[in-house]
Amino acid sequence: MSLLEIRNLHVSVDGNEILKGIDLTVNAGEVHSIMGPNGSGKSTLAQVLARRDAYEVTEGSITLDGKDLLEMKPEEAACEGVFLAFQYPVEIPGIGNTYFLRSALNAQRRHRGLDEMDAMDFLPMFREKLKLLEMDDKLMNRSLNEGFSGGEKKRNEILQMAVLEPRLAILDETDSGLDIDALRIVAGGVNSLRSPDRAMLVVTHYQRLLNYIVPDFVHVLVDGRIVRSGGKELALELEEKGYGWTETPQAVGARA
């Protein structure tokens, strides 16, 4: 059984079809990259996997370890091991970073029948992960993402991922807006989480991130369809030639 199986997935938003029949199989231990031009549906795919209800699945199926993902609410998907690193992490004033992350971890642990972690157990583990992402622990006393720079927000996403240790990690344009140092740190964090039990879906517009997080498979998404799949060399080809050559006639006029 594959970790993630997407079959003939069609998704609409407000009556507009964004994904037009996606098939994708991801096995444990694999890193897949989804590349594609703006508006091709990459982020939609990421959000559907995290179970955002603004997206309507009109056809097809998604299973996670054999379980029907489409039946799950976002928190259930998270508890089953889905983690989405947001393209635009949300600032939430009034909710402390550390408190939030421990609440999330404990919600997931309860779901898995594990004991909740108290602050005494949580903090040493948390400090280790902070070091991994080279994050200042002062940031953690602040409200969730509030006043964080773009790079700090992205690092915070990976920090959360490191703490929550998901089964399926989805990185949505995690590289966008990062300078090279931040990119190295983020990629280092991600690479340290590669494991035979875990799969990753790296959604990106640019090949740059894939120099640091080397994928096993690359899929090109254009106008809601996967038009090509291949190994990591496909990313380089895209970098060289751009997306123009992959575009089918239907792709013209795809959402900007």
């Binding site: 995290a50 949300v90 939430i92 999330a104």
Partner: protein
């Protein structure tokens, strides 16, 4: 009769209550106090209860109060066990009032610093009338406000707090007003006088609650808070009575030069609540913070009426009110800022933020600036919104349930106000009350999957700049 008010319908019963009251009232032989009560009662009969045609009462209909015959609440005794639940730890003193009457047994005055007097007003009127006379009734406006007039006519008991020059009381003084279940509609008119002389520091918590089941009750409280020069004072109002309670409270603050005063409020309970806050920045360089949080559900009506008067130059005032409304609750924020002619360099700011959790919840928010000076800075802003979907999804996507995520977001919204409360004792108490309350808020129960929440803003923002 003014069109904006109704003549007091059951005048005979009011007169009867007043006559009965006067026979036994504290200090009834003091001419000044007798006159104060008589004049106020006459004024009450003259002005009558306001109607919604009165601009200050446009969003709040008090016909329910006007129509009811209220009896003076009896003295009642609580078993010590019943009152234990209401204690707040680490306060400087606790005064307990049952149905408006001071209960010495349940109160704890303890060891206060030298120069601090905490007593029941009734007792202080009897023992030191000249001290009380200096301030009582000098600030609260009986001329325009029927409720203040009524309270003044029925001045009987409440808290008396006096802090001598330069004395600092670090822990807050806790005033607890409990109403018990009665067979008829009852009324109490708590009257508090808080005087902090120059360079003193004081914090007072007024907490209104009910015990033993619901019966119609009117709590009509007036607090006069006098802050001398460079005095630091904080006042906390907590309303958590049952849903049959009418609660009208008026906080009148008189600020001296460079005084720094804060009014904090938390409205959780009460069927119809009117929270009047009226600071007068009478001396130069004063600062006033007016901070409040109101959480309404069911058919609750929670009205916050701010009237900030800048009467001297170089004063600053900051108003922050956050409302969370669910069910068919109706919230009101009316923020009037008056800048007098001489109050140059006034810096006044007002912010009202609201979350509506249901289609039927409603908020009326009305800033009102009256500016008679020419070199001032006054800003105001109001927002009305729902729980932010992005934030909710973000929390859920990490494994936090929808219900818990909503509670966290509401708590965070409430926290904006809670954080501004300077006294950690008051802040912890209030934070605890908010957190307990949010556990039972309807709006955080998940919406069933077939139902889509439609976005409809039922609030109005009325703006008046004169």
């Amino acid at each position: 009769m003014r069109e904006t008010a109704v003549a007091v319908a059951n005048i005979d019963s009011w007169l009867e209550s007043f006559t009965e009251f006067e026979k036994r009232a504290a200090g009834r032989t003091l001419p000044w106090l007798h006159r104060l009560r008589e004049d106020a009662f006459a004024r009450f009969c003259e002005v009558g209860f306001p109607t919604t045609k009165d601009e200050d009462w446009r969003f709040t209909n008090v016909a329910g109060i006007a129509k009811t015959v209220f009896h003076s609440a009896s003295t009642a005794k609580l078993a010590p066990g019943d009152s234990a639940a209401w204690r707040v730890d680490d306060v400087a003193a606790t005064l307990v009032f049952i149905n408006g009457h001071f209960d010495a047994e349940l109160s704890e005055i303890g060891n206060l610093p030298k120069g601090v007097t905490v007593a029941s007003l009734r007792e202080r009127i009897e023992s030191h009338p000249e001290e009380v006379e200096k301030h009582l009734g000098r600030y609260a406006d009986t001329k325009r406000d029927a409720f203040v007039a009524l309270n003044t006519a029925f001045i009987g008991d409440g808290a008396y707090v006096h802090v001598a020059r330069g004395v600092v009381v670090e822990a807050p003084i806790y005033l607890l007003y409990l109403s018990t279940r009665e067979n008829a509609a009852t009324m109490t008119h708590p009257r508090n006088l808080i005087v902090a002389e120059d360079e003193a520091q004081i914090a007072v918590i007024e907490d209104y609650a009910s015990v033993g089941g619901e019966s119609v009750v009117l709590s009509n409280a007036v607090t006069e808070l006098v802050a001398g020069e460079s005095t630091v004072a904080q006042h906390y109002l907590i309303e958590r009575e049952h849903l049959k309670a009418y609660n009208v409270s008026t906080l009148r603050i008189q600020q001296g030069r460079s005084a720094n005063v804060a009014s904090h409020s938390l409205l959780l309970g009460g069927g119809l609540v009117r929270n009047n806050v009226h600071p007068v920045l009478a001396g130069e360089g004063g600062e006033c913070l007016i901070n409040g949080l109101f959480l309404g559900t069911g058919t609750q009506h929670l009205d916050n009426f701010m009237h900030v008067e800048h009467a001297s130059p170089h004063c600053g005032s900051r108003q922050f009110y956050n409302g969370i409304l669910d069910g068919q609750a109706h919230g009101v924020f009316h923020g009037r800022i008056v800048v007098h002619k001489d109050a140059q360099k006034t810096d006044a700011k007002q912010t009202n933020r609201n979350l509506l959790l249901s289609d039927d919840a409603q908020i009326d928010t009305k800033p009102q600036l009256e500016i008679y000076a020419d070199d001032v800075k006054c800003t105001h802003g109001a927002t009305i919104g729902q729980i932010e979907e992005n934030a909710l999804f973000y929390l859920q996507s990490r494994g936090i349930s929808e219900q818990e995520a909503k509670k966290l977001l509401l708590m965070a919204f409430a926290e904006e106000c809670v954080e501004r409360m300077q006294s950690s004792v008051a802040r912890d108490h209030i934070q605890h009350l908010v957190s307990e309350h949010l556990l039972f808020t309807e709006g955080i129960v998940p919406v069933s999957s077939g139902e889509r929440v439609t976005e409809r803003v039922t609030g109005r923002v009325v703006e008046e700049v004169r």
